[in-house]
Symmetry: C2
Subunit: 234 residues, 2 copies
Amino acid sequence: MDEKVGKRGGYHHGDLRQAMIEAAEAVLVEKGVGGFTLRECARRAGVSPAAPAHHFGNLVGLLTAIATLGFDDLSQEMETAVAKAQASGSDRLAAICEAYLAVALATPGRFRVAFGRLGLKNNDEELRRAAIRAFGILVRETKRALGHAVDADVLTRLPSSYAGDADLAEILFVWSVTHGFSTMLIDGQLAPLEMQPGGRERLIALYSGRLMAMLLAAVASTAGVPLANPASHG
Amino acid sequence: MDEKVGKRGGYHHGDLRQAMIEAAEAVLVEKGVGGFTLRECARRAGVSPAAPAHHFGNLVGLLTAIATLGFDDLSQEMETAVAKAQASGSDRLAAICEAYLAVALATPGRFRVAFGRLGLKNNDEELRRAAIRAFGILVRETKRALGHAVDADVLTRLPSSYAGDADLAEILFVWSVTHGFSTMLIDGQLAPLEMQPGGRERLIALYSGRLMAMLLAAVASTAGVPLANPASHG
DNA sequence: TGCGTTATCTTAACGGCGTCAAGTTTCAAG
DNA sequence: CTTGAAACTTGACGCCGTTAAGATAACGCA
């Protein structure tokens, strides 16, 4: 099950960078953040413990690469969800929130590294760009749901530039609900509620829609502007 | 500033358990979860690396003790907040959510250990009891806000018993908002927004009330039963 | 094709980590 | 004072991340 590329030549791996990232994500899922080890990842990739240094510098570099992947994946899935919602006529804001949750559940390793206050290289340019874009999508869809104008540079603007923004409360609220529910699920806070027929899938199927409906109601309550179709999620 | 007890007799410490917990929380705040080390805690407590074993078993035992403290502290602060809200006539549900946030910000080390999916002893009886009580308070206040009956054993009932509860969506929603905002703050996701005059305090002062108002509006939207005074927070 | 340069990977070693076994010191009950 | 239990130290083990130095493979260029 792990034939992969597997040190095929002998000395040179071929694509160690990619192999390390894949191994790291597997370890993160299997053993959690605590049991995560650079040497273990190197072992799975079939190379010596010192090999990854050239590609990532150090452990932080590897985690930063994974976090960047996480944000990119998040952005991509949210944009896909927006496109689908647009086509099907359902609510766009709820769609990106559900995509956010889906990404967290599908790749919890990436998600935790991206958001989990492990020491990342915060000044890494790629990481910053990826994080800013994901945040921009959230801003764009929240403003749109409120019926407000969206700046053209929304996907590249610095988050700090939203300091006094009129819609910041709604943005923070939407993000809080979505991030909170996602993290509680992948961190096991809701594990007792998953211990029943259907498990996690059923819990999410039952309540995700209702949470979205409440979220949309909350956002709508601050504006007086009714949202597109807040009841289409349930 | 750290005279503490400091190995006063020589061989016997006197209250190593407490000293270790205090040292651990200090390390957690200073260096984060990543830089947390049992040996470092022992060093600060003025004791050999093997000394803590007798009190906590191992690292996981120490973290479990800290997590238990975190849940107990959380419960206590929420109950205090409820009492104050009761006296002043403000909303009880908003009060416990604000207390939740305040605890996360005041003792982020404890909070992260309690909720952070480091490997804890999940079958530790004290930890379970503390976590169940904190959850029970949340359930109690959410049901009360909805105008629904609250069982007498709400502070000791297993969370799994709420699997099919009629108010579970509201409970999850309230918890998600509060937990999400708290974790995003202490994990630095909102750091860019704190980079301005007033910093974190001002950000919270500006938006905490508005988030609470939205939260109450969302909960109210599902019931048709108006809450006590949803607008008293803002 | 052959050669030198460079990127890639290995080996060996360092100090620090968590944990255990065995020994030492203190405490406290009788 | 004696004696057994509790608290702590010492020393060692294997694993960790990282580094320096050396080995090997790939590639540009003649």
